[in-house]
Amino acid sequence: MRKITFPHMGNLFVIAKVLFEELGFEVVVPPYNNRIAIEIGKRLSPEFICLPFKLNMGNFIQAIEMGADTIVIFGGCGPCRFGYYGALEKEILKDLGYDIEMIVIEPLFYGLRNFLEQVSKIFARKNIASILKRVYRLAKKVDGIERKAHFLRPREMVKGSVDKIYERFRKESLQVYGVDQMERLVDTANVLLDNVYIVNEKVRKIGIVGEIYTIIDCFSSLNIEKILGEMGCEVERNLYISQWIDTHLIYPIFKRKDQIVKRYSKDVMPVLIGGHARETISYAKYFAAQKYDGILHIFPLTCMPEIIAKSVLNGIKNQIDIPIMHVVVDEIDSDVGIKTRLEAFLDLIEARSEDGERGLLFRD
């Protein structure tokens, strides 16, 4: 039987694991993104490639050592580098001498036959529709937990109680099998989170925008959401895994578009330039319109679309009138630097809101 593995991206492993289990495969979940993964990735990857690629390489090597023999990832047809990840990773693994099969699910742009050929290697069972439906519902629930954690962290009375539940959920999800058990686990975590005692503290709201991998994956974003939560900030993101499924897999079928993106990107970036640059800009404007206190823009070093987004955001900063901090992540060791920067950022927000007139000083 195939032993399937896949790269990490935040809580993606919860969903991917049960999906492949339901389809009747054995699943090897690589260890969470960690320092070792990044060291391996750094050694094997091209020098100037973006961080997610390096983490992917680390995940694969660690998973292969645990006995995986098949890797499943998505492909793409550009213009972002992600579309070439699969092909390049295949080359690198081949040169290293690993005997491993890579299933790269390319979009329909490269032909229906190619797509079906790759997909049929995974989806051999008959009741796909019901499995996919259940997994999709699970994805929504898992993202619900993350949202709830974001809401509770700044408000919890006993500091750290949310993270205890959240971490326990992540740990236990590796031990359960199939959608049903996972769903029960999610429900338990939900109930536990609902029982966290909250106090009404003064909470600031920070919107997070940026490149999909680095904002969904807490390791690569240096636990920014957790740090912000501890500093008394509620975090809202523009992207969740289920939302990605919505906008990229489900909306195109019904020819629907994300209304916020459609509305806010009209005058700054009328066409798609790849990656999530357009989403970044439109959600930054959306968060500003919703009177958030600040925006964090997170992206990996040398990410092509997000650099454009940053330049455009720099250009329209007078228009949206909200503090924006850009965080470029790469193979960074510690979160001390980021903590200091976040403190400074929050100080700025504080000063800006307290005395309205003097706050003007900090705007530019």
Partner: protein
């Protein structure tokens, strides 16, 4: 009306196209090119570009600023090059660069038509696009022996600030530099040994040229001139390096950014060429390696 066109970055080599197209778009217009990259433009670009941008894009911003400040143009003509070859994309930075200019330079009128050959949909008039190529660069002459292949984007090879006189250095050492140019090779050559065909127009051009030249000409070495922060180069360079290692071709990768000095790069190239010289002369005399 003064229509300004920066000719660096993605618009390098498109002069003839612009001269042909602009009179069709604007009545009674005068085309103003920004010309060659000067020190002044580089400084403008470095000051106003966002830090993470690649150096050609920063220089591009310098060109735009020069046109606005010094030439006082009425309108900037910046076609959005979504795709310049069928079924490919340009680099995201090239697609998005009109948006950067629009966001950062208010008060300047921009005209941004879309050129998209990806799905055979052309936003500009059929006449001006038909059977005419977008880019127009001088082709490299291929010598019988002693060829050194310089791989880079065309806007790097033909920008005197970026190429650091690399072609001259190679020539003066007695070698013949050959280089790929955009939009030349795809008509008759499609590469086959790639794990997946590139979806970037420029990468496809460069790799096709590389593969064609390796198979059909006598090449002594490969120099990859990479710009810091270029996303395409980071993937392409790796694949070309692997291929060169496989073939046993001498390979040198140079990363250029705004801080690099001409002399340092010249020295590296000279050392590299010396190595090639030494290697070929030793090969002929049944050389035994000192490594034992």
């Amino acid at each position: 009306m003064k229509v300004g066109v920066p000719n660096s970055f993605c618009y390098a080599g498109m002069e003839n196209f612009f001269i042909r197209v602009i009179p069709e778009v604007f009545e009674d217009s005068q085309v103003i090119f920004s010309g060659k990259t000067t020190k002044e433009m580089v400084e403008y670009g470095l000051k106003n570009g966002c830090d993470e941008l690649c150096i050609p894009a920063k220089i591009f911003i310098g060109h735009v600023e020069y046109l606005i400040r010094k030439k006082s143009v009425d309108v900037l003509f910046l076609p959005r090059l979504v795709s310049v070859l069928p079924s490919t994309y340009s680099c995201p930075k090239i697609i998005g660069i009109p948006d950067i200019i629009r966001a950062n330079y208010h008060g300047v009128k921009l005209v941004v038509p879309e050129i998209n050959l990806r799905k055979k949909r052309k936003m500009m008039s059929e006449k001006s696009m038909k059977n005419e190529q977008l880019f127009d660069f001088p082709m490299a002459k291929i010598a019988k022996v002693k060829n050194i292949m310089v791989l880079a984007h065309s806007y790097v090879i033909f920008d005197e600030f970026l190429n650091k006189g690399i072609l001259e250095t190679i020539k003066s050492a007695g070698y013949n530099p050959i280089y790929p140019i955009y939009y030349r090779f795809n008509s008759f050559y499609i590469s086959s040994d790639l794990p997946k065909e590139f979806f970037w127009s420029s990468a496809r051009d460069i790799y096709n040229y590389f593969e064609w030249a390796v198979n059909n000409t006598q090449i002594n070495g490969v120099v990859y001139l990479m710009t810091f922060g270029c996303g395409i180069d980071s993937v392409l360079q790796e694949l070309i390096m692997r291929k060169c290692n496989e073939l046993g071709l001498p390979y040198l990768c140079i990363t250029v950014d705004e801080h690099c000095a001409d002399v340092g790069i010249q020295t590296r190239i000279e050392a590299y060429l010396d190595m090639i010289e030494w290697r070929t002369s030793k090969d002929e005399k049944n050389y035994l390696s000192t490594h034992g």
